[in-house]
Amino acid sequence: MKIMVPVRRVPNPDVKVRLKKDGTGIETEGVNFLVNPFDEYAIEEAVRITEKSGGEVFLVSIGGPENEETLRAGLALGAHRAYLVDLGGECYESSGIADILAAVFKQENPDLVILGKQSVDTDNNQAAQMLAAKLGLAQACFAYKVELQDGKAVVQREIDGGLEVKEVELPAVITADLRLNQPRYASLPAIMKAKKKEVKKVTPADLGAEPKNRARVLGLSEPPPRKAGQKVASVDELVDKLVNEAKVL
């Protein structure tokens, strides 16, 4: 089975972002970038499938030359090869990214696409569903468990209030939620091996893609801060404040 896994490069989600003063974006100096955490679950799931039943996993990362680092990190987790789509300084939101991913799909005709349910920087949660719509494929978002059967996948999905079971015909687009698996850590030999794996560098034009942005961010601003709170010394004082000051009990 051939599995396509798009991966995104995101600023370390455990560090609070700083906005540029003019609101055009975030400060990137001194910020380290990682593979989007949900994409690691996607890579792990894809690699496990090929470890069990054969086939290959190829990654796709869209951005600039720096995305090679992201791809090497993904290749060290067991993916076999990768595409780096260099935008030459252009920037696309989810629908433009889906345009490019659709073009890669058409070149490779994978049996399955697995990707993270959302990237933890822009939090859009759009590209996978848009990709499925553009290609006329079924989708199974927020996967908790994926079971492959003959020509189809049975997916338990995380939904409000529990799980939903859905059957999708392959090829399909699946997005990974956080209980899907426990991603492995890259071993040193795997990291060394990843350096030799193929990273094919292409442009959207090479793929025959004509990506476009359908939405635009005009600017970013800081959210209103919460006013400073207070420490209470005891449960008694806490209950007293909640009853008499905050009036929420």
Binding site: F38, Q129, Q139, D160, L163, L218
Partner: protein, 325 residues
């Protein structure tokens, strides 16, 4: 040039998140100087439509057709896209629930439309409507415009008050749905829902959340007792969900549920950026944590530095006494 709200049903009932989304639809329609319709798909939609007809919509359209009787993104997005094309709606919105997040981007893909996720407000700008939405775990508010003739969006339910009945009566009619059930590449199999007597996390006035500090199932039980004493919903940090101590749909945070209750009590939660993104809009935040350096205290209105295994039983006692008097 009306706009369309896609309401949400499950197992024959209109889901609560629909009501704040109606308020968002009303606000957006007012800004655009137009009216809004509601579409309700699924088993029980005809009866559900009656519940939605006095919320201010011009039309409430429903369908229980076989292809859309159970929710799949494939069938529902196709049915909605057909309707949008037929009626010429210029904007389509849904609540940013797990269903809305699954459905709306697919619909945007079918309509070749731009989309905004998790909108928390709208403004009129030089280039038309400007949508406000959080990014970077809520550490930035983005102002976004959509450049396609049709706008697709999901709206964050905590940012809008639930619509209440009384605003006129909509025309209720069956929606034309011509989706071929046999041609779909996806099939709904079943729900495996968590049964709980507690209120829904995103609807509750009080939420009590468990973090890594609860350690094990015994600790979770203690937090559940506090939740029950307060009639509160139960939430969890990602660490607790990762440990398998509580189910994923109770996870509060950037990639889980966004809540904004009147009172949020964080027990043994350190306050990672991702968690704070899900609860910082609560009116009053209480943090109980034995580590006085924990970042949760930076957002807490009332912080108690104490071992939760000592403080929470006392708190339960106090709450029960207060409730009894």
């Amino acid at each position: 040039m009306a706009i369309l709200l896609i309401a949400e049903m499950r197992e024959g009932e209109v889901r609560h998140a629909t009501f704040p989304a109606v308020t968002a639809a009303k606000q957006l329609a007012e800004l655009l100087g137009t009216e809004f319709d509601i579409l309700l798909l699924g088993k029980g939609a005809q009866a559900g439509a009656e519940r939605l007809k006095d919320l201010g919509a011009a039309n409430v359209l429903w369908s229980e057709a076989e292809a859309v009787a159970e929710y799949t993104a494939e069938a529902h997005a196709q049915a909605a896209a057909d309707l949008v094309n037929e009626k010429g709606y210029t904007a389509v919105l849904a609540a940013a629930t797990t269903t809305g997040k699954d459905l709306m981007p697919r619909l945007a893909g079918l309509l070749d439309a731009g989309m905004v996720s998790d909108a928390i407000g709208f403004e009129k700008g030089d280039e038309g409507i400007v949508y406000l939405r959080p990014m970077y775990a809520g550490n930035a508010i983005a102002r976004v415009v959509i450049d396609t003739p049709i706008h697709c969006l999901t709206v964050r339910e905590t940012a809008f008050d639930a619509a209440t009945p009384g605003a006129g009566s909509a025309a209720v009619a069956e929606a034309p749905v011509n989706v071929d059930a046999g041609g779909l590449k996806a099939k709904f199999v079943e729900y495996q829902l968590t049964k709980s007597e507690r209120p829904e996390l995103t609807e509750a006035k009080v939420v009590v959340s468990a973090g890594r500090g609860v350690k094990d199932a015994e600790g979770v039980k203690l937090i559940e007792q506090l939740a029950d004493a307060l009639g509160a919903a139960l939430g969890a940090s990602r660490a607790v969900v990762d440990e398998g101590l509580l189910p994923n749909d109770l996870q509060v945070g950037q990639t889980g549920k966004i809540v904004a209750p009147d009172l949020y009590i964080a027990c043994g939660i350190s306050g990672a950026i991702q968690h704070v993104a899900g609860m910082k809009d609560a009116k009053v935040i209480v943090a109980i944590n034995k580590d006085e350096e924990a970042p949760i205290f930076e957002v807490a209105d009332y912080g108690l530095v104490d071992d939760l295994f000592k403080a929470v039983p006392k708190l339960i006692e106090k709450v029960q006494a207060a409730r009894a008097s």
